[in-house]
Symmetry: C2
Subunit: 111 residues, 2 copies
DNA sequence: CAAAATACATTGCTATACTATGTATTTTGT
DNA sequence: ACAAAATACATAGTATAGCAATGTATTTTG
């Protein structure tokens, strides 16, 4: 009916939202990139393209919200694990508060 | 602490979200642009720049999600009122469903 | 009577998601 | 045994949307 508009809209909604999701997932334990895509798809039905995630993680690292370390595997390709920094934790708290506000506002509007 | 990042993030979150909010507000009755900015600020603390809203409304009209009509005032500048089209209503239903899903997913992740 | 508010609009900038493409290794299916 | 799929990283180019700045014009307020 308006497929193109909806598809585009969903992608727009992800801007900002994905950063928020990734940081929230990372608050519990360290993950590597590919794992993040799998986990989020498994638990939420949200699809994250690889071309979205890897640049996103690099931005987060540049902003000093996450740290990364390469970890060799006994077999297979080495994995790059990401974890929150202290700055990341503090920033995430502010993001959570902003999100709660937005969510409440939207719920009020939707009724 | 990370002012720039947060400011930028909030603006990114608005991409898509604003479209969703505007359409939801318009489902009840017709509004003119300036009024939308005021109403949303009053009830939700969400700030929408004029340079954001007017292009947004034009996009919605191009996509045939809303209609507009100029209404002359007894005094003052004429106002351009917007209302949902049938396509707009149907699209909004799908957006509501997607949003509900996303919200639930994020709540699960945040705990 | 000047400043602020109301009401529309556009231009240029920036940030981010996504498709496509690439590399390399390991696992799976036949 | 060997091809295909999955795992795991990465980048380049494109499209979209929010926003500051700027503009026009009218009306209200101090």
């Amino acid at each position: 009916m308006n497929e193109v508009f909806l598809t585009n809209w969903k992608s727009q909604v992800k801007k900002g939202t994905l950063t928020f999701i990734i940081l929230n997932v990372l608050k519990d334990k360290k993950y590597y990139g590919y794992e993040l895509i799998e986990q989020i798809r498994k638990f939420t039905e949200i699809e994250i393209a690889e071309g979205t995630l890897y640049p996103l993680l690099n931005r987060l690292k540049t902003e000093n919200l996450v740290d990364s370390e390469w970890i060799e595997q006994e077999t297979g390709i080495p994995r790059k694990y990401y974890r929150l920094t202290n700055t990341g934790i503090k920033t995430l708290l502010q993001m959570n508060s902003y999100w709660k506000n937005l969510e409440t506002a939207i719920q009020k509007i939707i009724q």
